[in-house]
Each structure stands twice: as structure tokens, then as C-alpha cells.
Symmetry: C2
Subunit: 274 residues, 2 copies
Amino acid sequence: MVEPLKFEILTIGNELLIGKILNTNAHWLAKRITSLGGKVTRILVVGDDVEEIASALKSCLERHPDFVLTVGGLGPTFDDKTLEGVAQALGRRLEVNEEALEMVKAKYEALSRLRGRKLELTPVRVKMATLPEGAKPIRNPVGTAPGVLIETEGVTIISLPGVPNEMKAIFEDFLVPMIKKRSRLVFCEKSLRVDGIYESELAPIIEQVLRGNPRVYVKSHPKREEGAAYVELHLTTSAETLDEGMKLIELTVSELKRHVTERGGRISEIAEEG
Amino acid sequence: MVEPLKFEILTIGNELLIGKILNTNAHWLAKRITSLGGKVTRILVVGDDVEEIASALKSCLERHPDFVLTVGGLGPTFDDKTLEGVAQALGRRLEVNEEALEMVKAKYEALSRLRGRKLELTPVRVKMATLPEGAKPIRNPVGTAPGVLIETEGVTIISLPGVPNEMKAIFEDFLVPMIKKRSRLVFCEKSLRVDGIYESELAPIIEQVLRGNPRVYVKSHPKREEGAAYVELHLTTSAETLDEGMKLIELTVSELKRHVTERGGRISEIAEEG
């Protein structure tokens, strides 16, 4: 069986640790990677601190995923410390990358024309082109700070900006083709609603059905709606084709239906929210 | 200066890694802990896997925070593996905890009365009362699975259920008094909107102002609203009294205002969203 590509997501930013913002970036990436047949094995959040970023990245690399995606901390401000942390984790120096500098320069030239006054390449702007040795900049189609690619010991590290539309644009333009090229799996899912049976009564049924269908994953979520309790089941699998994946899911659904009906419960399908 | 209590949050659930749900639990906890004067130093997300939970918890313990909060995976189903992971990380055995069993029993007796039929203490229900040796159960005021408290080498591990209203109820009932007793800091914050100046021009100003106000933290966020770009600044600090904290913040605000105005920019205050 084909193994999925493994990803770890390292999101960086004090605003996440103080609960100022929700980690919608990690959520979007996890969903998108899963839909491409990849597997996110861990998500980490650390603050804007070089030591913390370096130690977290090192722990990611020790687990040897195919990709580590860092998110945030690539901008011009003093607390954008991601590349310093990456450089420290890898024992590489930071240096002005000529290709990245051209990208940043072009952005400020365009902004200068737009504003009608010259925006100089100040030190904080050059900072966005200062990358760990051996890194490759990735064009940012909607913002100023380039993304950054580094290959190290079989792991591809991609640093993405934290501004959501910039992160998404680089992911779609650059990462999606890369993932599709390297992965040979597609992701399939289905949601079910189970009424008339407790989650704790459902648990041994699911366990039994999954013993016969080890490639399908079933997660149960107790829910409440207008006072009525029910259980939502979310079935997922990865397969080499959508057809093969949906067959695995449908087989599991029919077995679950049989057992639940025998116990006096009801199963219905839930349309995916997309 | 009084040090804040340090927290790490370990959220557990495949549904987070496939991007099915947003990590609103970690967000809520981070915000609530910060408002109590605590400091969240790291957030981790792992799947429903004993080895992953154990290895992540071990890495949290190595950093010696005051608290590690695990969230999720306490329920009756086969994929609720948190306590197994905790036991493995600590090298402790799992055993039926009499106090926890009484709590679970009482819940099912109440449910039996409500339903008019006897709900037995099946193995999957007893599982919710099967805790690592030396653990103390925490009463769950709104659900079935108790929370779990373990003290180990100066770190307090608290395991909370993943159902949001259960997690919040246990946090408010049990953890808030515990944190207030152990912490002597309050958290203060203010948001500013800066117009008419680029983030990259603002960066050196912030850096200069913070050198003179090291206890205040300022984070800048580039924003866009109806086509107009501006920068949001979020100032935070912890202090022994609200008064002392707000004085530190106001001093920083007035220095920022002076520098920004000199450069032709404008600063206004933003009401907190609460």
C-alpha cells in the first residue's frame, strides 16, 4: 500500500498563544493537505522567540516527516523571527539571498510607482530577503515577504507568511503542484448521523466493524441539537483512486448500518459542508 | 518581578489534524489563561494515538511548565486514548479509580432514571474511570467523563474532555480557583490602529519604544479594509495590579503616538472585542 506524505505544521506567533486569534492557518492547511491525500501528523504553536522556534523545528525534524511547514514570522518587523530560528535549528548562517532580494526590490519598486514616492530598501526590508544558507525563495504572488524552501536530510521545510491570503497563494501556486507530484493518494470521507443509541453503546460496534476494515478511520462526535442528543460519525480513508476509496467507505457504512439498526438505532448521511 | 505561571496545551484528536474542526478549545483556553495572568508557552496537536500522545506529553514535561493541560480523548470510545498515553509517558499503570467510578456510576444512574431503563456499567463506561495510578478525578459538572489531575515532578497535568462545554465547565469550576491561588499577576492589553505609515516603517519605531519599555509586548498586524491598508498594534503586559499594568501600557502608547505622528502617521484606539 502507498504511504501518504507526512506533514508537520509549525505555526509561529504570540497572538496564537494569548488567544487573540484562532489558528485558522493551521486549520486551512490541515484540511487542504488532507484533501490532497497527505497526512498531517502534528501541529505545533510557539511564540515569536528564536530559541522556541529552533527547538520546535528540531523536534519536528527528528520525526522525519516529508514536509515541515512553518507559518508566520517572515515579515519586516523585529518580532518576525522565523528564519533566524530555522537557521539556528539547522546550524546555518543567515545571508542576503540575491534571488529573494530581487523579489523584494521588485515589490517596493511597484509600491513606489503606486505611491508616487521612492520607497528605499531599508534594513528591515532587506531582512525579508535574508535567508538561511542554501535556502530557495518562493515567489509571493500577493505580498512582499517571499516564502522559503530548504531541503535537509530528506525533509522539505517550507516557510510561509502568516497573512492568510499570502499563505494560501503560495500554497496553491507552489506547494500544490509539488505535493501532487510526490503523492499518489486521494482522500475520501463521509459523515453519518446516528440517532437512538448512546455513544458508549456505539463504541464496541465501531471497534468491531473497523477490525474488518482497517484502512477506514471512524471518529465519533457526541452532538446535541435542540435538546436531542445524537452522534456524528466521520469516516475517512486514503486510496490510490477516489473509486477505490469510496468503495472502502461504502462497505464500512453498510456494516455500521446493519449493526446500528439491529440495536434499534438509525443512521442517516450528512451532506459535507465542503 | 513576579513570574507568570507557565502552561502548555496538548490537544488530542485526529479531527484537528485532518482540518475537520478548528482548534477552538486551545484558543479558548489560551485566551482564558492569559486573562488570568498566566502564560501559554506552547500548543501542540497530536492524533488519537498512544505513542504520539505519550511522546508529546514527555516533551512538554521536559520543558517544566507549571501546568500541562491535555484536551480531548477522555470519552468511552476506542479512540479515546489520552489516559493510556499519559500513563505510558509517566511509566504508571492504569487502574480503576474508585472515586472516578463513583462519579461515572452516579451519572449513569441519573441517566437510567431519566430514560426509564437501567444503563449498565459496561466495560467502555468503566474505561472512563480507569486512570493512571496516583491520579485524582475531577468532577465533570455537565458530562460523564471526569477530568483528571496528576502531579509529577513539579508539573500539574490536567486532562480535560474535548467537548467544549464540559472542558469549559471543569476549567471554570476547578482550574480557575487553582490558578488564581497560585498566580499573582493580572493581564492587561490595548489595541491601536495606525494609518498613514507602512509596517516596515513602523518596525524600527516599535523596536526603539520597546527598548525603553521591556515589560510591554507589542505585536503588529498588517490589515486591509475596503482597499485601505493600515496596521493594527496589540499591546500586552502582565503586572501585579491592573493599575500598574495599564500605566505601563499607557506610557508605551504615548511614546508610540509621538513617534508615529512625527512621521506623518495617525494612531487611534480600538475597542476590544471582549
